[in-house]
Symmetry: C2
Subunit: 630 residues, 2 copies
């Protein structure tokens, strides 16, 4: 088959591809990250590019205007390469700010100074220990390997130490050249202590662990000093897999069609870039990073390890592994100390991952007397209810609307996003992130906006516009409310919300609310029986709780029982990383948690449909301060 | 530096080497195995070659006759290559019969039908288990990895199972393609059960383990069916390291001077050739060989793993590891199942290896009430004394005379070797292995011969000839007794023993006897206090016990207390391979055994000198049936 060269501007990067390859695949091959929400189905219209020279074929998309088509615009996912090409990628198509500091961590203090839990004894999963061995004599000429292990075990709490051949080979020289003084790195592989590394002299003060939250949308990494447990830095980037779909299911399909290692390379690449940025910023040598501890949903966990996801999305929804063992990080391509370990924390099922077990750990649900509900709002809404005796988890597919996607002017929580909306003397006002001109609306802004529109009677309880004001008009044939006449994606279009967007948001909040309701019903509980609701997710921090109640996303229970707990995934992963007992407890949490499959519930559809109103069909659920979920 | 091509005949193999390389190194590089006893010091004269074309430089050796020198004979270890060469390797120089069946095993029934120990429960270190998993349902959709591990643990005695990424990746497909029926290979890494392999369907009947005795001179491998514990074949070959010295110390020196991985490659090459021959003969696929269990002296153990030996032969004699962990066999280059395990059994010290711990296991010394002495006669003589309460081990450097080396016409126990010598009506008679014309004398023949010479008063108690008969004359200026006028090494020279040879044998037996004596003295014991003496070594089988007593190699205690136990190294390794409790007991044996360093004994030299007579200075030790060693 013919091979063509495609050159992308402004990057001036060229790749050679086969005839018929899509521009989306070509841009991925060129390692250029672009916006794409639908995973290449020609639906989202975010992957616009301009073909400057050469020819492509493919259907014309309704997402392109006549003017754009005349100018040579194509959707990268629809355009098949038929010759050598020169392609311009417009700024709006390029994913912004590859590596940024973790705003969440910075703004909302989840960037805690020190990981701390009084109920556990500090003991990092990988630790460096300085030891001084007795010099061998004729009366005490125990072999080097056994001398080292015996000394470590005697001075510490290990019963035995595993050691590989590579270490044994270098051991005699290191010990003798350093006067029998050495620093050993011990990594826990479940109950087994492995001597991962040995260095001459005392370097025990240089040991760092990376904590990663592998979000479907955003990957966050924190750098923590293993001795002080202080977080030294926090960085985030978009999950590069986004090019193959905003939702994990689409990525699974892509992984099955293509080589499944593609998804692995993308997430590992993101993690490596974050680690590099953190190490650079803190002048840390990568060899002193001895472990990476990751939490994420089951799909991300599988992608990270390159495990097949095929059966996860097919009846009866079976994961390949929910409790993978610690591995050498290098085995998946993560660049830290060559013998450093990768801990992918255990999840619960094919649909409830280690982000949730970490969340349970962080919020101490598994130690509480009263019944607590934890809801982690993301593309999937995960819900856990329970106490120290029992835990039940469920997962609801909410879609990406509450993250600002599948909404015309939705965007990630980046500078320029409308993050807060309010009504001021009947005028709709808003704040943007960093006070920049508005480019779009992020999740918290969308909830605020719908709540305001409902309160100010712009829309009815079904989400349809019922007022006629200057700022309401048809855009692309759909009734829309315009917030700003221009600035969309940094360009000239208006920033607006339309009835279809509102419908997507209602669907999302209905999915989450009905999931909570069904789960409590099965447990013979009301919302009022809950001691506490923990609202988690990066999202949670921006959320106006009253507005979330008023659109029916969360139930109306006394406000002092609702707590925003932030990114519990990364917080739980940190605790697991620095307290071996907590790491073991995650295994116990997995075993004490029952997964409840909502899809199998007869009344789920009914409950879901009842929730497809603002705030709900049963409006009385949201009028008292103690709604009944029964 | 100039590079030259050296071509060896009859092999027609060429290698390119740098100017000044010895012919010995070149022949090694060409992977041709030749006889060499001294390790390249120009002493043994076994590495004769004929330079047909080209020039070499180097000292002329006294080991070559004038006639040989005229014909172009050189010693390969002394000849430095100065041009392209064509070299003939005479038949006598070539090591014979690269792979042969283990004669020991065949002739003396150490080739036992079934490995069997009533005191342990059979449980091979690597086992194949056939399992049928419950097919996943919505109500039971445990992940594949956990489903598999839980099923194995439930049906077997494992608490937990370790599994690597490679297996997890292929697991979903294997399970589904085979109707959830699979065969897992579980390997023990100390207390940890590792799932090494998974295959679809039931292949649990095809599991084989290789047992290796890494002798300094001979490497023996047995192929055992892991289910029936039946030995299916036994092969032996010369240790290819012999080219770098008959004694391990010489090989250590060579390993330090050259690349230490050379020695590893040689022993691994030997093991691979033995495995291949065994697998071919029994039509077994290498992938069904799941483990190799090795015993040997500490140097061989270090060479096998490529561990540094530098400190073992230097004060205070520290090994790198005496208890190395189980490893992936592929990590050292052993070719069995790519995920198969290598168990290098634990030894005791830098001088007492796993051949001895295996010997203790095989002879059950560590379970006996009465005090037993085990002596394993080889190039090193290892001695263990003890009972179920305590064990003390010592090692005496005997030299290779008792194995037929460092003796003018000494040879390995191959066809044509004189293995038995007797006096028949005042005429010295002998038997050769396989009844062939005599080529030389092997160890058992040498002991018989010296005993006969002493009894018939050919020699005095110092080993000097005191008779004048036709068969005694000077050869190369040394008084010699000729057994056959021609046939040496298959050539035309006489087969004889001279006074210098006899002195070497006396030195060897004196080293072993005085070691036993000193060790017992330290323990406040007499030889008569011993319940039993076990005489081990391939050597032991050929030994005429009365002759061994009469030359003073072993003490004169009642014959019914002396037992030949054969190759206890391979027998013990088999027991460790098929009984996990026995494998654990080897660790316990290591810990309950004290190493006694003879070199540190003040009276060793005195005892040694007293033993430099036939049978001993204190002749009364050998005149009664119950000698006193005190």
């Amino acid at each position: 088959m013919a091979q063509y060269t495609v050159t992308f501007f402004p990057h001036k990067k060229s790749v050679v591809v086969e005839e018929g390859t899509t521009l989306l695949d070509a841009v991925s091959k060129a390692h250029i990250t672009i916006n794409n929400l639908c995973g290449g189905d020609g639906i989202c219209g975010r992957c616009k590019m301009v073909v400057v020279e050469g020819s492509v074929k493919g259907d014309v998309s309704a997402k392109l205007t006549r003017e754009e088509i005349t100018k040579g615009y194509v959707l990268a996912c629809m355009a098949k390469i038929m010759s050598d090409l020169i392609v311009d990628i417009p700024e709006e198509t390029l994913a912004k700010e590859k590596i940024k500091s973790d705003k969440d961590a910075e703004r909302f203090r989840s960037f805690e100074e020190t990981v701390s839990r009084d109920d556990y004894t500090p003991s990092p999963l990988t630790q460096k220990i300085y030891i001084e061995l007795d010099e061998p004599t004729l009366a005490n000429n125990t072999a080097d390997h056994e001398r080292l292990c015996e000394t470590i075990c005697r001075n510490n709490r290990f019963c035995s130490i595993q050691m590989g051949l590579k270490i044994m080979k270098i051991l005699p020289e290191i010990l003798r050249k350093n006067n029998y003084q050495a620093t050993v790195t011990i990594g826990m592989r479940r109950d087994i202590a492995e001597l991962m590394n040995v260095e001459g002299g005392d370097s025990s003060d240089r040991n760092y662990i990376i904590i990663v939250d592998m979000g479907t949308t955003t990957v966050v990494a924190h750098l923590v000093n293993a001795n002080t447990r202080k977080t030294m830095g926090a960085k985030a980037c978009f999950n590069s897999q986004g090019i193959y779909g905003r939702e994990v299911t689409r990525r699974m399909i892509t992984a099955e069609k293509r080589n499944s290692s593609d998804m692995q390379q993308l997430i590992v690449g993101d993690i490596n870039r974050l680690i590099e940025a953190l190490a650079d910023e803190n002048s840390i040598n990568l060899k002193n990073i001895t472990a990476v501890v990751c939490a994420g949903n089951p799909a991300m966990g599988h992608f990270l390890l390159g495990l097949p996801t095929y059966n996860m999305r097919r009846y009866p929804f079976v994961a390949t592994s929910v409790e993978p063992p610690p591995l050498r990080a290098a085995e998946v391509g993560i660049e830290i100390n060559p013998r450093g370990l990768l801990y992918s924390l255990p999840g619960i099922s094919a649909w409830v991952g280690s982000d949730i077990t970490a969340g349970i750990l962080a919020t101490e649900l598994y130690k509480k007397e009263g019944v607590t509900l934890l809801v982690d709002i993301g593309t999937n809404g995960e819900i856990v209810v329970g106490n120290k005796e029992w835990l039940v988890a469920a997962s609801a597919s909410a879609g990406p609307a509450l993250e600002g996607a599948s909404v015309s002017c939705g965007m990630r929580a980046e500078p320029g996003a409308i993050e807060r909306v309010y009504s001021n003397e009947n005028v709709i006002g808003f704040d943007t992130i960093d006070g920049l001109p508005p480019k779009g609306i992020c999740g918290s802004g969308i909830i605020d906006l719908i709540s305001v529109l409902l309160e100010e009677k712009y829309i009815n309880r079904s989400g349809a516009f019922i007022r006629n004001t200057d700022n309401i008009r048809e855009i692309n044939g759909v009734k829309s409310l315009v917030l700003s006449e221009n600035g969309k994606d940094g360009g000239s279009g208006p920033v607006f919300i339309n009835e279809s967007d509102i419908e997507n948001v209602i669907t999302a909040k209905a999915a989450i609310f009905s999931a909570m309701k069904i789960l409590l019903k099965r447990l013979d509980l009301n919302f009022s029986d809950l001691d506490r609701i923990y609202l988690a997710g990066a999202f949670g921090y921006y959320l106006n709780c009253d507005n979330a109640i008023s659109i029916g996303l969360i139930p109306s229970i006394p406000r002092n029982r609702i707590e925003f707990v932030g990114n519990t995934s990364i917080r739980g992963a940190k605790i697991a990383a620095f307290y071996q007992e907590a790491y073991s407890d995650i295994m116990a949490i997995r075993k004490m948690t029952t997964y409840y499959d909502l899809m199998g519930a007869d009344d789920y559809v009914e409950e879901f449909q009842k929730a497809l109103f603002l705030p709900h069909t049963d409006i009385e659920l949201f009028t008292s301060n103690a709604g009944s979920g029964k």
